[in-house]
């Protein structure tokens, strides 16, 4: 089976964010980058699917990002067991329209004829949750999202979709399929040194984004990026116990929308 896995390098959870002067993105100097969380689970699932079917097949790691920093997560994915990689080199300013992003991927992998494409359900930076689905549509593959379990049944794919509040639903779809993976369905493996050493010999095909012929133009754009709340200041609630409780209920209702 030939499986493609989309992995994205995103800003780490703890990185301080400074909006750049154009108000379009953040200053990357102070950011620690990491692999997008749900993509790690997608990669692990891909590796396990190959292992479960007797080790026949290949996992191709695909990522789009700058030439200098993206190879780090690609190599990490190869170290975990990916067989080869495709790196679409994109420099800032980065595309934010999911349709164009998906079209770029579609064009880059159209000749690969993947049986299955996995990606994380959404990226931790843009968080649109659409790229995987649109990619599937563009390549004529069936799609499913928020997958928490994968089975191969009667040469079709049967996946467990997560719904809210502990509900799930099994969905069956034919190959070729493009599915997006929810975090938590497996335990992503650690890249062993042995794997890292082996990864050095694995192929990473680099393509400049500009060399990919994508006909669509962006349909949506960032107008302005800003900090919604003021730099976190803890709002201290004061007064007598009764006054405090009253204010808390109000905050729960109006600000936090918890009730």
């Amino acid at each position: 089976m030939k499986i493609g896995v989309l992995v994205k390098q995103v800003a780490g959870n703890e990185s301080p964010l400074r909006i750049d002067s154009n108000e379009q993105w953040v200053d990357e100097g102070s950011i620690d980058f990491a692999t997008n969380e749900s993509d790690s689970y997608a990669l692990e699932e891909a590796l396990q699917i190959i292992e479960r079917s007797g080790g026949e097949g290949e996992v191709v790691v695909i990522s789009m990002g700058p030439a200098d920093r993206t190879p780090k997560i690609i190599r990490e994915a190869l170290a975990k067991g990916g067989h080869r990689a495709i790196h679409i080199q994109e420099e800032a300013p980065y595309e934010i329209d999911p349709f164009v992003i998906a079209s770029t991927f579609a064009e880059a992998v159209k000749d690969e004829s993947f049986d299955l494409i996995l990606s994380g359900l959404q990226s931790d930076d843009l968080g649109s949750g659409q790229t995987g689905v649109i990619l599937g549509e563009l390549l004529g593959m069936s799609t499913a999202t928020l997958v928490m379990g994968v089975e191969l049944k009667d040469s079709k794919l049967r996946v467990k979709r997560e719904l809210e509040s502990g509900w799930f639903q099994w969905v069956t779809l034919p190959f070729p399929a493009c599915i997006t993976i929810q975090s938590g369905l497996n335990q992503p493996r650690y890249p062993s040194l042995k794997g890292i050493m082996g990864a050095k010999k694995k192929e990473i095909k680099s393509i400049a984004k500009g060399d990919i012929n994508v006909s669509s133009t962006p349909m949506q754009e960032f107008s302005k990026l800003y900090l919604h709340k003021a730099e976190k200041r803890t709002e201290m609630i004061e007064g007598s116990a009764d006054q405090i409780v009253e204010k808390m209920v109000d905050i729960f209702k109006k600000e936090i929308k918890a009730i």
């Binding site: 102070s30 493996r189 050493m197």
Partner: protein, 667 residues
């Protein structure tokens, strides 16, 4: 005076016994399966000193002066030396060798010594039998007859020796009865026995008694290597061959050199140790030398809180596999996984208590660490929770995953302007804050206290600020040698940009790693723990202490400061300098015998579910001293003890304070 004539045929039996002995002792050659060790250099004088101190004087056996086990072993051991001497003398004299220099069998003092030796062994064996059957320590094999692959088990060989001792007395009694020397009564045990029966009895019995004792002795000698008594030989050899300096030091792998090698094939290299061939001959010898005394397991904090780890089990597991492979020609693929499980390995906090008490100088920690390396580097299976911290260390330079660029936020938030190395370029002292001091709110208080102290003493210091990055200690202890090396090389590159005379740090893990382990990578720096530095400041009069605290304080020894680096007194001196009556109160287990807080060996980053929390057990000891302050000298200990303080519900009556905080209070 006649000496017994030893028939020639006896010598034939002796030669057979010797041949069998040599055949059995060939198991030593099993260590040839192991790798050679290029760092190993035996130095004759230290080896001889080791032999005397640990081997003959058995210094470690008497760790607790007159414990039951110590007395028992003294009796058996020294009693045996005496009998050995006596037998050797007897043999020489009977052949007429050196007859002018050696005492005759019936020389009074010799006779007394001889019999006393026998009695010592006799009583010692009885004590041992009692201990094994009625007073069984938990860590020892519970089925006394089985032992760990020892012939006749533990009890069997004790009974054989007992039999030999009794036989020896009987043979002696026979000789005394028949020869009736003038000084017979000096054989103060053999003589009364000889009086128990008639001359005729002894006359008839003498030959059989002599022969049975003789043959039994030869048989016992022949099988020594297959019984528990083997330790007398194996342990002695191991003690002589152990380099004291290398104890606890983990060998670097020089991964970066490996990675640069274009011909390197990851399937050919062993990353970490699991096959017997992966270990050095000395590590294999360590396993052979284990006497199964169980002391390591008895002091292990993991074992004592019901975790699956028993250091003795791992060492003897290794030995069993070694014998299986070498003697029984079995296929041994690797010892990690089976019989040594992952949980056992992850339970170790690398506190070093096992290494400290081992009477035969086994070096447990590097062996365990190398097995962890196999799990992490070859199989990619660190403990799942630890994997998270390792990835965070890799991505953000600290195991908590906080942003690299916020490493000095603790200072800027408090309005402290730290002198930066990037600006000063050089300073007398480089203050290494450490990840805990930078990111953990509890330890940030310690970092601030340190700044107060450095300022008050007018020290010319600077910090690396955002250029500081994890030393890689946790990574190394967890077996992630690649990550450790990456961090080390990075830090060394940073250090090399600046000039400083010494590095001081409040964290013993950083202290140990920077001071002892960076040297392998050309990072040679003088590193001091803050307790040492503060003591120097106090002694030089550079730090003036004004207030004197009237708390009752106890000090919890940090493993990486104490056992691993021998520093027990500096923190105590610092504490005593700031308390009114100048004397801190000791917990029962202190200094070399201190009980770990439970965070070492990477355990800070994950949980082994079984049993009690190690820190709770240790904290209870502190509670028992009835102090109101528990002083610590390590970032991890502070976190652990603080946690335990809450679990035990002592927030209102006790506090945990780092020694820097104590000193800052006294400024």
């Amino acid at each position: 005076m006649e000496t017994p004539h030893i028939p020639v045929i006896f010598y034939l039996f002796a030669i057979i016994a010797l041949v069998l002995f040599i055949y059995n002792i060939r198991k030593f050659l099993a260590i040839r399966i192991g790798k050679s060790d290029s760092d190993y250099k035996i130095k004759l004088i230290p080896a001889a000193l080791n032999l005397i101190y640990y081997g003959i004087l058995q210094r470690r056996v008497f760790r607790f002066k007159f414990s039951f086990a110590a007395v028992m072993h003294f009796l058996i051991g020294f009693g045996f030396f005496i009998l050995l001497y006596a037998t050797a003398v007897g043999t020489f004299v009977s052949r007429g060798w050196l007859i002018n220099f050696l005492p005759h069998l019936d020389t009074p003092w010799f006779a007394i010594l001889n019999d006393t030796g026998g009695l010592m062994v006799f009583i010692g064996i009885l004590m041992a039998l009692y201990r094994r059957h009625f007073n069984k320590p938990k860590s020892l094999p519970q089925d006394a007859f089985k032992g760990r692959g020892n012939l006749f088990g533990d009890t069997g060989i004790l009974l054989i020796i007992l039999f030999l001792v009794i036989g020896g007395y009987l043979a002696e009694a026979a000789r005394l009865a028949i020869q009736a020397p003038d000084t017979a009564q000096y054989s103060w045990i053999g003589y009364p026995i000889s009086k128990l029966f008639s001359f005729e009895f002894w006359n008839t019995a003498e030959q059989s008694l002599w022969w049975s004792h003789g043959i039994l002795s030869l048989m016992a000698i022949a099988i020594i290597p297959n019984t528990k008594i083997f330790h007398t030989i194996a342990s002695t050899i191991n003690i002589a061959l152990t380099e004291r300096d290398l104890r606890g030091k983990v060998k670097p792998m020089f991964v970066s050199k490996l990675m640069e090698d274009p011909d390197m094939d990851p399937d050919e290299i062993s990353l970490g140790s699991t096959k017997l061939e992966d270990f050095t001959w000395k590590q294999l010898l360590d396993s052979i030398a284990c006497t199964e005394c169980g002391r390591c397991t008895n002091v292990c904090p993991a074992y004592n809180t019901d975790k699956p780890l028993s250091p003795m089990k791992i060492i003897t597991d290794m030995r069993q596999e070694l014998y299986d492979k070498y003697l029984n020609k079995k296929e041994v693929d690797g010892i990690v996984g089976k019989p040594i499980t992952e949980t056992e390995l992850w339970s170790c906090t690398t506190c070093g208590a096992c290494t400290e008490v081992c009477p035969v100088l086994i070096n447990h920690i590097p062996t365990f660490t190398e097995m962890r390396r196999y799990l992490v580097l070859s199989e990619g299976k660190p403990h799942p929770q630890a994997a998270d911290s390792l990835e965070k260390t890799m991505n953000t330079g600290n195991p908590w995953g906080f942003s690299k660029s916020e490493r000095t936020k603790w200072a800027s938030d408090a309005g402290i302007e730290l002198p930066l190395m990037s600006e000063k370029k050089e300073a007398e002292v480089l203050y290494w804050v450490g990840c805990a001091g930078a990111y953990d709110p509890r330890n940030q208080k310690v970092a601030k206290a340190m700044v107060n102290i450095l300022e008050a003493a007018n020290v010319d210091y600077a910090v690396l600020g955002n250029e500081e990055s994890c030393t890689g200690d946790s990574a190394r202890r967890l077996g992630e040698e690649y990550l450790f090396e990456t961090m080390a090389l990075q830090n060394i590159e940073t250090f090399n940009k600046y000039k400083f005379n010494k590095i001081i740090t409040p964290c013993p893990h950083c202290f140990h790693t920077l001071g002892n382990e960076y040297g392998d990578f050309e990072g040679n720096y003088e590193v001091q723990h803050h307790s040492q530095f503060i003591m120097e400041l106090i002694e030089d009069g550079k730090l003036k202490l004004n207030k004197y605290l009237d708390n009752k304080i106890t000090y919890h020894d940090a493993c990486y400061l104490g056992r691993h680096n021998g520093e027990y007194e500096a923190p105590r001196n610092v504490i005593n300098s700031v308390i009114k009556d100048g004397k801190l109160i000791e917990m029962e287990r202190n200094r070399k015998n201190s009980f770990c807080c439970g965070a070492g060996g990477g355990n800070m980053w994950y949980d082994i579910e079984d049993g009690e929390r190690i820190n709770s057990v240790r904290f209870q000891e502190a509670i028992d001293t009835e102090v109101d302050v528990v002083a610590t000298a390590c970032s991890f200990c502070t976190i652990m003890m603080d946690d335990a303080l809450k679990v035990k519900g002592k927030e209102d009556s006790m506090q945990v304070l780092d020694i820097a905080e104590l000193v800052a209070k006294a400024l």
